[in-house]
Symmetry: C2
Subunit: 404 residues, 2 copies
Amino acid sequence: MKKYSKFIPVPGFKAAGVYCGIKKNSNKKDLSLIYSEGKALSAGVFTTNKVKAAPVLINMEHIKNHNTQAVVINSGNANACTGEKGFEDGKNMILATAKELNLSPTEVLVASTGIIGVQMPMGKIISGIEDAALSLSHNGFEDAAKGILTTDSSTKTVSIEFDLDDKPIVISGMAKGSGMIHPNMATMLGFILTNASISKELLETALRDSVNNSFNMISVDGDTSTNDMVIILANGKAKNRVIDNMDENYMKFKKALDIVSTELAKMIAQDGEGATKLIEVDLSGAKTKEDARVCAKSIIASSLVKSAFFGSDANWGRIMCSMGYSGGDFSPENVEIFFQSKKGVIQIVKGGMGLHFNEDLAKDILLEDYIKIMVNLKDGEYSAKAWGCDLSYDYVKINGAYRT
Amino acid sequence: MKKYSKFIPVPGFKAAGVYCGIKKNSNKKDLSLIYSEGKALSAGVFTTNKVKAAPVLINMEHIKNHNTQAVVINSGNANACTGEKGFEDGKNMILATAKELNLSPTEVLVASTGIIGVQMPMGKIISGIEDAALSLSHNGFEDAAKGILTTDSSTKTVSIEFDLDDKPIVISGMAKGSGMIHPNMATMLGFILTNASISKELLETALRDSVNNSFNMISVDGDTSTNDMVIILANGKAKNRVIDNMDENYMKFKKALDIVSTELAKMIAQDGEGATKLIEVDLSGAKTKEDARVCAKSIIASSLVKSAFFGSDANWGRIMCSMGYSGGDFSPENVEIFFQSKKGVIQIVKGGMGLHFNEDLAKDILLEDYIKIMVNLKDGEYSAKAWGCDLSYDYVKINGAYRT
């Protein structure tokens, strides 16, 4: 398997990213289009927030269709809390896209990200869709990856190449998160394309499982957005024997998909609003997978842990505490905690109690911008990873005063 | 009922607060003692954190006893993640107190707050207990209220006077939260005394219910401490007919207790680390009490909502969003949201959508230091209140670099 930190074009797919005037800055792009030349299967995972943006509600229906050939995405406006009008606007984005590409509306998905509670500038958006349809190309993916961004500091793309039945397979993904020009919440969107041939059922299973261990294991600020979604399209152009049971080929496909999901998730955590550090929790020794997930995620979501890492402070008590209120089961008196970065590794906690550790080495390790917290619960065989960022002055600044 | 924002002495109780050397600054107090001259019933509510400090584990046993005559509290060290040694130290604090006051150890409770994972300086603490026992007085409550503080900017005390069966009743409370000299987590402690005569069973019921609607409805940073506890002692000195069923007298007692709990809880929220504003969520129209509680608490706990209030930004989308991921049930399309402060009241959301509101008036309202967010879910008859503070640069500063 070969990994690239750019978006390798996937055979049979085209894309475009244009500026249509939703954002104030015309040097940016704010409307993207992804198009499959032939029929493609889709699967999606959507926000669990009860307040769902119009595009999420629409896609939850359209994703059931057995052919999905286009995804239209705008940035700068989330089309959330926009009522009936917002729902109509989402439908109209789909109708305009379907018309341009000669598709049925149910073959089109839609996504929006940006400010909440403001009606969509539909004239600009419809013009943007027309422009984007004309600009579609096999090399348009970098533009498309730009068109889905808000306050992200850079595009987030990754690709994996591998073989199935000697056929070359590509899985390429793009994502956005976690900030906005007029930030309202850390919306995240992910779009993954592949030429692999796979049944819709297994595509759904693979995506759901992969998202659980990647996008669902990151936290910038604990706020689950109204607009979150991850969508995968598979057009089968590789002509591999269709993956329709959980055989070796499925495992290979799943492994590649996991790398794409995990890399994109880490890019989002690293680019969290105000973040100065990427923090990885590598938790092992849990009694169950769920205990491992719950404890790992609770560490990464704690404001006190995040603040301590901003200050490069080896404050392990907060890590113990955050696992303690997580709801995950473990024996506090067994816990071991290590900190690791490229400056080295240091054990901080053994048997649930603090060790006399070298504070200078700990500081050196924590001053790095990619830090691993390794926790061993010494209670069982299960493990989980989670990713997050530190909580900085800039998070407060970005989120304190940027709407008005 | 008459309310005082100081600690009115409760007949039959003495207290003291001394400096014994746990804190670096000898102008502070770091050991407090509360003593009941006669037999007293107790009830307590303790942290749900799986990582429980030694004093919490000890009290959960001792609180079952039918007589509790003393509570010894130190600040500056939390006695958490201190293993077997910490447990012995907690027990020894109790033994020393029992010896000084001629009590059985099971008649004494213990509480600690401060840094995590550091062993207790027991020599200093035992001397402190001896000093405190000698200093006990009917007017020692303000000193005791000082001895339980860490980075709190002031003492937190409140008293209610009322009559039961023409007997004068006092309920007085003190609390600490939420910060530390070497902060590790926002520990909160609360101690409430009364001369009312009430059965142990109803004292427990009243306290649990009161804490649920007060201390359990505040959030500074979402991190539940290893040391949280609220304890009430009732010595029956008022000679009112013992409250042993849920009659009118119970309701009166409960109402007074609710005021004490709520006022102390609000003081903690207002004095949250780095806080510049007290935010009150007044949520009504929920289908069930639990939906009301869950939605109200989720608003107050959201880092994005807290940051917006720091910036006096009328960012209602984040309020909708935080209720959406709370797990509480409601219909987004019914929601109404208002902001209120002494500058006025303004409706921001109707039918789940934003109104065109006066941004200048909204800013004026939000620039105040006590702001109410009024949410009507228009879905039912239940309501709940929750309290929190804004998320400021100073929260990050206080928690980013103060351990080392």
